[in-house]
């Protein structure tokens, strides 16, 4: 192995891959049965964290950053003057195996620029995955990027070796896509997504009858949207996310604040701030939809097309719906408890268990770990004291903001001025 050459390629091709934020390695079901290498069951592991605090669990690289397309938001676009490189199939296999054996990673996340044509590119990605599974007996996690416009046959084959498949929508609105990636067709994204969804359904059905049906993408599929590149509203983003969750049974939708990488008058200028706070609020909303029983139109609608930046979306929703509060935490059902600001699902479960033994008061709640500075305005418990005065939403908001330190404080003041 020519070490210096590999190092150079790795630098180029990891650098180009880092804007894809997905790093999940959980939810697969590949057990190590035949004394092979690796195991990917249950929870994923973050083996390290980047200096901006993101999880590092997969070797995330491009097979090549050569590309025949020219999408405005992408560093690898054809017209961008950058160093190009390409890995050989065996080189990717060796890197993956050697990193995995040292416990650096959970597996591989392989994507690619499109060289020649979509099928050619996809076929090469599949070859890496196949080699890892069949020659190296590798049971670690493999995430393959589906190449827009590739054939159904290849998508079928990809799912036989990959744990997860993903294809990034990138631009949440069709009009935005036309503007920034005019050579790409919306249906080139949809077709592979549809194929994967159908294959997963087929697999789940067949498995009920034939136990050893070959696995198909056991960790499902995901997608990513760039936010802050085309002036889309939070409502646009979350409504399309909801659509993809439902229509294509997505496991996850990722939101990636646009990082300006090139000068282009269709896009925010280089040096504009990455909308990290907004990204964070979108993830919070995503959680409320997936785990807290909220419907998207409760949080975002024509009257409220954008999320509040200074408070989290649950609090914001609660302040608009004060008639539902206070909730009695000793009686209320799980659904209602989950809607109290400051109460996470873990606390909800603890409360439900603990209140079987005695009525809970503030002291109990504090010990359990409830964020009372937010929650106390929205609940009553086994105590005479509760916040009955200051029931005005604006007052409550003021009090809560006074007493909380946000990790985004600086950004809030900065970005608020941007949003106003």
């Amino acid at each position: 192995m020519n070490f210096e050459r590999i190092k150079e390629k790795l630098n180029i091709l990891a650098d180009a891959a880092k804007y894809d934020v997905s790093c999940a390695s959980s939810g697969s079901s590949r057990t190590n049965t035949n004394k092979g290498l690796g195991n990917s069951t249950g929870m994923g592991i973050c083996h390290s964290y980047t200096e901006d605090g993101r999880c590092v669990s997969l070797l995330k690289i491009l097979l090549t950053n050569h590309c025949i397309f020219d999408c405005a938001y992408c560093v690898s676009r054809r017209t961008n003057d950058i160093k190009r490189a390409a890995f050989k199939v065996q080189e990717v296999v060796d890197l993956t195996i050697n990193f995995y054996r040292r416990n650096y990673i959970e597996g591989l996340f392989l994507s690619s620029g499109i060289f020649k044509d979509p099928d050619h590119t996809m076929e090469r990605l599949i070859r890496v995955a196949k080699k890892l599974r069949e020659e190296e007996n590798f049971n670690g996690y493999i995430h393959l990027k589906s190449i827009p416009g590739c054939s159904d046959e290849l998508m079928y084959e990809a799912g036989l070796y990959a744990d997860r498949l993903s294809i990034n929508i990138e631009i949440p609105t069709v009009s935005g896509l036309k503007l920034l990636a005019p050579e790409k067709d919306h249906k080139d994204f949809i077709q592979p997504m549809n194929k994967v969804k159908n294959e997963i359904i087929r697999y789940n059905n067949e498995r009920k009858i034939i136990k050893n049906t070959p696995k198909y993408a056991p960790a499902g599929q995901s997608t990513q949207m760039i936010v802050g590149a085309t002036g889309e509203s939070d409502k646009d983003v979350m409504y399309s996310a909801t659509y993809y969750y439902k229509k294509y049974s997505m496991k996850r939708v990722y939101y990636s604040g646009y990082v300006p990488v090139l000068e282009d008058n269709r896009l925010p200028a280089i040096g504009s701030q990455v909308p990290m706070l907004r990204e964070n609020r979108l993830y919070q909303t995503d959680w409320l939809l997936r785990f807290y029983g909220f419907a998207v139109n409760e949080i975002l609608n024509d009257d409220y097309p954008n999320l509040d930046m200074d408070i989290d979306p649950k609090l914001s929703w609660a302040l608009r719906n004060m008639h539902l509060f206070p909730v009695d935490i000793n009686n209320a059902d799980k659904r209602l408890l989950a809607r109290i600001p400051g109460l996470g699902m873990k606390s909800v479960h603890k409360i439900i268990h603990a209140r079987k033994f005695r009525k809970l008061n503030w002291e109990h709640l504090k010990k359990i770990g409830v964020a009372l500075n937010r929650a106390k305005y929205f609940m009553v418990c086994d105590s005479r004291e509760w916040e009955r005065k200051d029931r005005e939403p604006s007052k409550i908001k003021g009090l809560i903001l006074q007493n909380s330190a946000s990790k985004f404080r600086n950004q809030i003041s900065n970005q608020l001025s941007l949003f106003n």
Partner: protein
């Protein structure tokens, strides 16, 4: 009035369970359960040395399991914290559990909550170690890693590594507690080594390891660097996820140590 008793045991988990058995069986009024290495004399109490009895330990174990399956692992995890006085807290916990089914989820009870949270802490350390172990390949083809965990987590991580690295020999050594677990391609055994030199991921190279080893470390460090997005840097969040005490074992962090 019954005499107050201090039980002294050999420091093993089975030894501890034997203490619990005898305390229940003889209806002792316990003031302390202590490891024989760290005996302190309690005033006004008699101390008795307990010899580990696997039969009795097993009976306590199944007794607890019949009450609650979750409580079993909570107890074991909390025990491995090695916190001072954890044995008495656990004894109280077990008494409560035996008195009433379902008590292990009464989080409004202080002992229950304390043990629960302690077990959570040990669980977190287990996960961190599973994540932050960095193997280095020795010339005799053993993937070797040093750790110094806050809690005694080797017994908890063994299964994870055995399932994952079934086709390579590996050795994880707890330098703080001076023992390690070695997987010899068949099973895992407990070893104790005479290590003069701890093999952190130093910038200085050791001839114990293969030359390819350092090449891969460098590739990994490079990879780690190129995953950064400069305009997003957030060091505080970074150290929150990767506490500094782990850095000396992480090759990607060796320049920072």
């Amino acid at each position: 009035m019954m005499n107050q008793t201090t039980l002294i045991y050999d420091g093993s988990f089975n030894g501890f369970l034997t203490c619990v058995f005898q305390a229940f069986d003889e209806k002792l009024k316990l003031v302390a359960i202590q490891k024989n290495k760290q005996v302190q004399n309690e005033l006004f109490s008699e101390s008795t040395t307990v010899f580990t009895n696997i039969e009795q330990a097993k009976r306590v174990w199944t007794g607890i399991r019949n009450k609650s399956f979750n409580a079993i692992s909570t107890i074991y995890f909390a025990y491995l914290s090695e916190n001072e006085g954890v044995e008495m807290m656990l004894y109280t916990y077990i008494k409560k559990l035996m008195a009433k089914r379902g008590t292990q989820v009464d989080f409004s009870d202080e002992t229950i909550l304390y043990i629960h949270q302690l077990a959570k802490k040990v669980g977190r350390e287990k996960h961190r170690v599973e994540a932050f172990v960095r193997f280095q390949l020795t010339k005799d083809q053993i993937y070797f890693a040093n750790i110094e965990p806050d809690f005694d987590v080797l017994p908890l991580i063994s299964k994870h590594f055995k399932n994952r690295y079934a086709d390579q020999q590996w050795l994880i050594y707890d330098a703080k507690r001076n023992y390690g677990i070695f997987y010899n391609l068949d099973g895992v055994e407990i070893v104790s080594l005479d290590i003069k030199e701890l093999h952190y991921n130093r910038t200085q190279q050791s001839n114990v390891f293969t030359s390819g080893e350092y090449a891969y470390q460098e590739l990994w460090n490079n990879y780690f660097k190129s995953t950064n997005i400069k305009s997003r840097i957030n060091r505080k969040l970074h150290t929150q996820h990767v506490p500094k005490r782990y850095w000396k074992y992480l090759s990607e962090k060796k320049e920072a140590v």
